[in-house]
Every structure is written in structure tokens, then in C-alpha cells.
């Protein structure tokens, strides 16, 4: 259930996704209920194979559930037709993947403006928006670079800028720091933190405690089901000194 109050941007009820059949049946997502409130950062954490990526794909309409209800931006999407779903996905959801998934032959700016162009935004407006987004992720001076000329951390920041191109209601990130070294991880963490401050709704699935700890709420997932939920605020009760061994 929603902990942060307000309207749920993403919702799921008794959500299931199964693969295979009989003895080979895999319940990748096994009866999940979820609400993500506007402005909330939610992390779903679990070992690889726990179903968290499948869940993210379902939430973003990239994949269809076997059963259950799915809500996105106030609309029920599990029964929605292919074309309507594609449009809603384009307008309401931004995706960030572990392997960046940038187009190699396009520059950073071209990658970022692509979703806006596909959504029918006029080219000049799309470019203006892309320039602003690259500035926001600290890569204004890399706008004309091909992905191959960028570091891993820079590529992921371009991918985040692209995810924001259509001002999505929610950004869904799948293991966004999985391919990054610690320095680049910090850059992406800073970026997510600033998005969170700006009120962007975020769902991050990860096995990395460090990125999970940027969230307001953390759900632990095992074998396709939620096993634990934690509100992460107020851990040191404002006393960071106690964490470093200072008394009093």
C-alpha cells in the first residue's frame, strides 16, 4: 500500500507472471500488490532471479502479466491494446537499464531527443529540451559526443536524461549502477537524489544496497514475492556521530 500518501502513479494487484508449464513452471512474479505514490522513490531489492526485473517490465508495460491488475497513471493497463499501451508507455514512463541501451550511431543529444521526436514533439523543441536535460545531468559539454566516446557513468547519465525526455510520470530503473565503478555510481546516485528532490517518482530495482538506500521505501523480494518492506527514514536519528564511533 502507499506509504507516502497521495495518488498512486503505479499500482498492481495480485500481479502474476509465469513462464513455462507443468514441472518447468516458473512464477517470476507471484502475487504482488504495490502502490507507488507520486514523488516517491521506491527500491525493490533482491538477489538475481528473484523476479525484480520482470516486475519492473510489467509495471512499465514492456511485458504482459499472466494475471492480476496493473495501473499506470490512473489507467488500467493489463487489458489495454498494444497501440494504446505503447503510447502511454512513451508518454508516462522513462526507462533506465543496466546496459544503458543507447543508440551507438547517435550523439548524446540525439539519443536524448529521440523519445520526444517519437512522441511527435517538433524537432527544435525536442532539441531544446535535450540540451536542457544534458545540462541537468552535467553533460552539456558532451552533447555532440557518440556513446563510444563517453565513460560508463556518462553513458548512464545520458540514458537518464533520455528517460526524462517526455517528462514521464515515473522513471523505472533496472540495476542502473550494475555496470559502473564506484566513482560513476556516486554520480548516478547524486543524479537520482536530485531527481527525488525535484519530485520525480522513481522505481529502482537493484541488488546494490547503496542505491537501494537512496529510496524512501524499500521492498525485499524473494522468489517472485515481497517478503519485507522498510521505511528508510530516520535511521541514525540525526546522529551521524554515533555511526562513526563518536560517543554522545
Amino acid at each position: 500500500m502507499s506509504e507516502a500518501g497521495g495518488i498512486a502513479v503505479v499500482g498492481a494487484r495480485a500481479l502474476r507472471k509465469e513462464y513455462g508449464r507443468d514441472a518447468g513452471l516458473v512464477r517470476a512474479v507471484d502475487g504482488v500488490d504495490l502502490d507507488v505514490a507520486a514523488g516517491e522513490t521506491l527500491a525493490v531489492m533482491g538477489p538475481s532471479g528473484c523476479g525484480k526485473s520482470t516486475l519492473l517490465h510489467l509495471l512499465g508495460g514492456l511485458d504482459r502479466p499472466t494475471s492480476g491488475e496493473l495501473w499506470l497513471a490512473g489507467q488500467r493497463i493489463d487489458q489495454l491494446g498494444e497501440r494504446a499501451l505503447a503510447r502511454l508507455r512513451r508518454e508516462a514512463v522513462g526507462f533506465v537499464f543496466q546496459a544503458f541501451h543507447l543508440m551507438d550511431e547517435l550523439t548524446a543529444a540525439e539519443n536524448v531527443e529521440l523519445p520526444a521526436l517519437l512522441a511527435g514533439v517538433p524537432p527544435r523543441k525536442a532539441r531544446r529540451r535535450a540540451t536542457g536535460l544534458l545540462e541537468q545531468v552535467g553533460l552539456a559539454d558532451r552533447a555532440g559526443f557518440l556513446p563510444s566516446a563517453l565513460s560508463g557513468g556518462q553513458r548512464q547519465r545520458v540514458a537518464v536524461a533520455r528517460a526524462l525526455a517526455n517528462e514521464p510520470l515515473v522513471v523505472l530503473a533496472d540495476e542502473p549502477t550494475g555496470n559502473l565503478d564506484s566513482e560513476a555510481t556516486l554520480d548516478v546516485l547524486r543524479l537520482f537524489d536530485s531527481l527525488h528532490t525535484a519530485g520525480q517518482t522513481l522505481v529502482i530495482v537493484t541488488h546494490d544496497a547503496r542505491i537501494a538506500a537512496t529510496a524512501d521505501r524499500l521492498i525485499s523480494m524473494r522468489d517472485g514475492a515481497f517478503i519485507d518492506q522498510t521505511l528508510l527514514t530516520g535511521g541514525s536519528a540525526g546522529n551521524l556521530g554515533s555511526l562513526a564511533g563518536l560517543e554522545g
Partner: protein, 176 residues
């Protein structure tokens, strides 16, 4: 020797001091090699004075500490129950937390996985606070370095908790 560890080892059943030592050695492995053999009797004597354990001479009749059978008093049981649920990172060392899981499982007092979950929740909250503070420090600041140390230690402990969860889940499932 931490008093609560000895109390928790007694939670399974009344025992001789040497039985507690054997359990402790099994749980600690080579890490426990340097432990002083007499330490456990010193702790048991203190616990008895504090009213947390009682002792009875065993069949042999002699009043030597190594012949006594020790048992928890209600106050001792209460202390153990409180100890199992408390979280006070960074203070408790690895061995203490490890023995907490061992004792909880042996005595059936609490589910080790639930103890791991509680610890993980608390550590993640601390990680969030430390990390937020670290992210708001300018890059390469000296103060940021200390926060980075906290974050890295918490991350290491969280990884170890994952290993704890895996092992205790397997052991629990094997027993069912």
C-alpha cells in the same frame, strides 16, 4: 566474554560450563581458538551474582564451578529476549551477532532470519542517512571521506547479512 552470549547459550537447556564451551567453540570455529577456557566460568559466576542464572551441583556432588549445572532465571530469560531484538550498529562485533543467530536457532527462541531482517532494516536506514549526508558534501571533501567510510562499512555488513540469510534459510529448510 559478553554476558548475553553466555545467557543465550543457556537458553536451550540447563547445561554444564564445559557444554557451553563446546557450543561456543563449534559456533566460532578457528575464530574462537584464542579464547581463554576459564573465561566462561568467570562470566557464569558474575551472572549468578546478578541473579540471571542459578546453579545446582550435578550428580558428582562437588561444589566446583565445572561440576555445576547452570540454568537461566526468569530475569535471565528476559535479558536474552531483549538482546536478541536490539540493534546497535556499529558497536556489536561480528562474533556477537553471529552468536545471536546461533543461540536463537539452537534454543528456538527466535527465527534467525527475522533477526537478520531486523538488523538489515536498521543498517539500511543508517546507510540512507550516511549516504544522504555524503552526497551533499562537495566532491573530495575531507569530511566526506569519513562519511564514505561509514557507507562502505555499512555496505560490507549488509553483504554479510545476505550471506547470513542464505545460510540460515538453508539450515532452516533442511530441518523442516
Amino acid at each position: 566474554m559478553q554476558q548475553e552470549v553466555v545467557l543465550a547459550l543457556l537458553a536451550k537447556e540447563p547445561s554444564h560450563g564445559y557444554e557451553l564451551r563446546t557450543r561456543l567453540r563449534q559456533a566460532l570455529g578457528p575464530v574462537g581458538d584464542a579464547m581463554n577456557a576459564g573465561q566462561i566460568y568467570v562470566t557464569l559466576t558474575r551472572l549468578e551474582k546478578a541473579g540471571l542464572v542459578t546453579s545446582e551441583p550435578s550428580a558428582g556432588g562437588a561444589d566446583r564451578p565445572d561440576r555445576k549445572v547452570y540454568a537461566l532465571t526468569p530475569a535471565g530469560q528476559q535479558r536474552v529476549a531483549g538482546w536478541l531484538t536490539e540493534v546497535s550498529w556499529p558497536k556489536p562485533d561480528l562474533a556477537e551477532f553471529h552468536l545471536k543467530l546461533v543461540a536463537a536457532a539452537a534454543a528456538g527462541l527466535a527465527d534467525p532470519i527475522a533477526i537478520v531482517d531486523t538488523q538489515r532494516r536498521e543498517l539500511l536506514r543508517r546507510l540512507r542517512d550516511a549516504q544522504r549526508a555524503a552526497l551533499s558534501e562537495p566532491a573530495r571533501s575531507v569530511a566526506g571521506l569519513l562519511l564514505e567510510g561509514i557507507v562502505l562499512r555499512l555496505q560490507a555488513d549488509l553483504r554479510w547479512l545476505e550471506a547470513c540469510e542464505r545460510t540460515w534459510t538453508t539450515r532452516r529448510d533442511d530441518h523442516e
